[in-house]
Amino acid sequence: MIWPIASAELLPLFSYLYELLESTGLPQPWLAVVVYTFLAALVFGVLSLLALFLVWWERKIAAHIQQRFGPMRHGWHGWYQTIMDAVKLLQKEDIRVATRDKTVFFWAPVVCFVAAFLAYVTIPFGEGLIVADLNIGILYIMAVTTFTVISLLMAGWGSNNKYALLGGMRSAAQVVSYEVPMVASILVVVLFVGSLSMVDIVQAQAGGIWNWYIFRLPYGPIAFCTYIIAATAEANRTPFDIPEAEQELVAGFNVEYSGMKFAMFFLAEFVNAFTVSAIAVILFFGGWHGALLPSWMWFLGKTFGIVLLLMLFRWTYPRLRVDQLMEFSWKFLVPVTFANIIIAAWFKYAGWYW
């Protein structure tokens, strides 16, 4: 249900906007449209900046691991380097292969980009900083992030390039395989909380570090490990970045893309990395809870911590082969996560809460 919306569900800023517009006598559907457009613009702007920041940060982390400087030219330690890169990509010629499938080729980056941002409807950035607190929050996120795989398949097919096609096929197989352990790891926490709402999950972890589910649940660490492995695969990052393995498939699904279309894939990848880290924080690390600092700072800080972990993975490990990736998921991760669910269910049934 999109409208009518109650002003209490919105952020304070938007509640104010809502009331202001309401007083002018704007009819209801248009009122909701205006307010939601503002919200979407805000989320989009913040996340684009966040993604650009993550690109810069990843480059710096990679550089320091490899004892280099990384970007140093634009601003202090090159802090606006990626903004300049984005501007450059905007200006570049959009090279289109003559033999492409026109519609699919055009819409693939758009679907990828949109799917990456849709998840942020239900991610609470802080206390009350949530666009819409859906009661099926985590299920919704799982559903929309899987859209990405459709876009990768579209890109692979639409490019009419064998490398791209292989990349698209790989990504489809990979995401389908890793969706199972990822959802199974999430279920462990959901089972305990008894709600799919993101806000409820975070609220259940209030009151100190020992209430975070990674510490509070005896099976929490295992669930976190399986989640972070599956999430790395979901976000297409090394050691599971086979869809775009540049040493094998040159650039995989985005080999024919250039200019802003490529940038959309690129940014969506980083937004996805941030999404899976944010979910990890919400599920296992108490979301926005923390002392002294404002809640959104805690949330961002924790999420960046998880992103740092993903980056360390990326710059340390080699890449798995496609069949090993499948084997690892179906023969190791799925049994482990399912066993974990059974243990969690037993705990829940026996009433061993602590």
């Binding site: 320091h64 004892q67 280099r68 400087f69 710059w315 490990y317 090993q324």
Partner: protein
């Protein structure tokens, strides 16, 4: 866990994965070992072979070249072009000395062939250009580039200064540049071709 070994394999694998993380994490805190190139530069070692330059006498400011053509003959890629016609007194006068840096393979054979410290591969390496024609250096440019290059003088020190003054006048400078001409040609040049090591 990845190769399907038993349960103990999982812990061993996790341990080994963590060792890798420790190594990269350890490097994360270290300082970069690279340089920010245009602002910072390595000091090149003294023997570093960069672009070929013509050396001038430190006192007189004239080229050391005696037009013996040994370097031209030693060059494997024919990057050096010398034109030094013999005058009436059978002495060579250096008229043209061109180095095509696009052809040069920086082997240093010309420098070793030269017995008069006339040319050297300087440590200079920043002369890239978008225009290929700019890589063709003529005598004037080579001399300018070699003006401040330190070198060890291999020439014999017994030269008599007054004799040197005479042939300069009869030489016709190619351009208005006053010091493009050679010191007196030494005909022993070709005899000493065999000695190319310098220890």
């Amino acid at each position: 866990m990845l190769d399907g070994t038993g349960s103990m394999g999982v812990f061993k694998d996790i341990k080994n994965l963590l060792i890798g993380m420790r190594i990269t994490g350890k490097h994360l805190g270290r300082h970069a070992i690279t340089l920010q190139y245009p602002e910072q530069k390595w000091t090149m070692p003294e023997r570093s072979r960069g672009v070929v330059v013509l050396l001038s006498d430190k006192e007189t400011g004239e080229l050391n070249c005696t037009s013996c053509m040994l370097c031209m003959r030693a060059c494997p890629t024919a990057a050096i072009e010398i034109d030094a016609p013999r005058g009436e007194d059978k002495k060579r006068t250096l008229k043209v000395f061109n180095v095509d840096n696009a052809l040069c393979c920086y082997c240093g054979l010309c420098e070793e062939a030269c017995n008069f410290s006339a040319l050297k591969m300087a440590t200079m390496y920043e002369y890239s250009t978008p225009n290929k024609g700019d890589l063709f250096w003529d005598m004037k440019k080579l001399q300018e580039a070699g003006r401040d290059v330190p070198y060890e003088d291999k020439r014999k020190k017994k030269k008599a200064k007054p004799v040197e003054a005479a042939p300069i006048n009869e030489a016709t400078p190619v351009k208005e540049d006053t010091k493009t001409d050679s010191p007196p040609p030494d005909d022993k040049a070709s005899d000493t071709a065999g000695k190319e090591d310098e220890g």
